[in-house]
Symmetry: C2
Subunit: 286 residues, 2 copies
């Protein structure tokens, strides 16, 4: 069986990792990037360099676009003929952005899938790495073996093109807040001459604890029953004071204020003795 | 060998779990709570009910106070004679609050340890549950076997009484942000009639990914070398736009704005192509 030829457009750190994984798996791989030199190391490893975006898309039945935004993707592919081609976008973006991208791609005759790589570039190609897709299921089924080269945990979420972006933000929306929390902790330790490395065993256990309580919170949210809390709004409300006193240790804590406001509003609305998951109700706009 | 008698003051959900663990391990356990009825189920399981805080503290060489704040703890223990007693506080609070608490306790003649339970009440007593302490090392060494009843992973961080509170906020400061991120995701899915439960496999993997990248970030922070990013400030800056577009899906995203401001300020300060961990520098006040 011959490996499907693949084109990768956009060779930032993630796009280069994707192209590298296809090369390593023996797929004929064509690459294109606006700044052509970004393709050099991939070409040295056996990739074909396309001269234009149109040439790139024509080279393979399947094109993976990995630019920073959907707007960048449309700008890059504007000169290319997409009719009958399978186009997969793997970038960050909103559900609304994914819907606009899908409309554009199908109006240009492409068969369209949107997806997200749920990991960092160095994890691309690993058996455990998760990528999910949504949109044209026929494209997914036709190319699933090729797509699985990018990560062993490859999933199709549904036919609506914006589901991957919806899940990406729903899941990925914890990353920046969790990291800023960790960086704040590192800044607090630094104020005492302690290294961030000393946080690692505790932070690891802490995130494992967070993982362990998510099913409980999901159940509360789905049932809208917040009456038997493991951790109440009042507990977090009291903790907010301590969080803000971290400013005395030379740390900027202002980024936390809107979260504390949310907790305070929940307490004021009479949810004090209910589960902190009740915040989901305050975050849902009617 | 006889088990050390222990007193637990403050019988909220966490205090009750602590007292329950001591009872289960066969320690003579005295309990006190301002609202006396909160002790009823523990008394039914064999605990002694103290009539006053002073009587409670006198009943055991070791008293664990688990009230909501340090202020609550001082108010509750004000009438008690603490001279020569080992007092351990297990509540949320700031390093500054822990320092004030330590001063108060030692001025009253107590031997003082501050600590933190890094888990939810139902995890108390498990072999893997982490509790850490700081302050009077002699108290820790004398009572470590008793303290280990509360969790198998019991650690002394150092002689400075505020270190446990410092680490607690440094580590625990990721919890509310991570949870609000998860609740926001659940709200986004709900807007499409999808259940929070469908997030769980992806969210679990995502937090595992976050755990896996923390050592890399700690190394960058400790070396102050952010020049070889797995995820750059610019990537997060671009992603912020998509995060805010989640408002189109009926979700309140305002709580994220200060975090995005932080990312924007990092980009404007010329850190765009550096690791997102450079935010630690912006969070550190000189």
């Amino acid at each position: 069986m011959t490996n499907t030829p693949v084109t990768v457009v956009g060779l930032g750190s993630m796009g280069s990792a994707l192209a590298g994984a296809f090369l390593a798996a023996g797929h004929p791989t064509t690459v294109w990037n606006r700044t052509a030199s970004k393709a050099d190391s991939l070409v040295a490893r056996g990739a074909s360099r396309a001269g234009t975006a149109d040439e790139a898309v024509r080279a393979s039945p399947l094109t993976i676009a990995c630019l920073t935004t959907y707007e960048d993707t449309r700008a890059a592919l504007e000169p290319a003929s997409l009719t009958g081609r399978a186009l997969v976008t793997l970038n960050s973006g909103s559900p609304a952005g994914a819907r606009r991208m899908a409309e554009w791609a199908t109006s240009r005759g492409a068969r369209f899938l949107d997806g997200a790589v749920k990991n960092i570039p160095s994890a691309v190609g690993a058996p455990d790495t998760l990528l999910y897709y949504s949109g044209d299921k026929a494209v997914f089924d036709e190319h699933v073996d090729t797509l699985r080269v990018l990560g062993g945990d490859t999933v199709h979420l549904g036919d609506e093109a914006d589901l991957a972006a919806l899940y990406e933000i729903a899941v990925g929306g914890t990353l920046l807040p969790a990291l800023v929390g960790f960086f704040q902790g590192a800044a607090a330790l630094r104020s005492r001459g302690l290294e961030a490395e000393t946080l690692l065993p505790y932070a690891t256990k802490w995130f494992e604890m967070i993982i362990s309580v998510l099913p409980m919170y999901a159940k509360e949210i789905d049932s809208r029953d917040y009456s038997d809390p493991a951790a109440s709004v009042d507990i977090f409300h009291a903790g907010a004071v301590a969080d803000l006193e971290l400013a005395e240790e030379g740390v900027d804590v202002d980024w936390q204020r809107p979260m504390h406001d949310l907790v305070r509003r929940a307490a004021e609305a009479g949810h004090g003795d209910r589960s902190i998951a009740v915040l989901t109700e305050l975050l849902s706009r009617p």
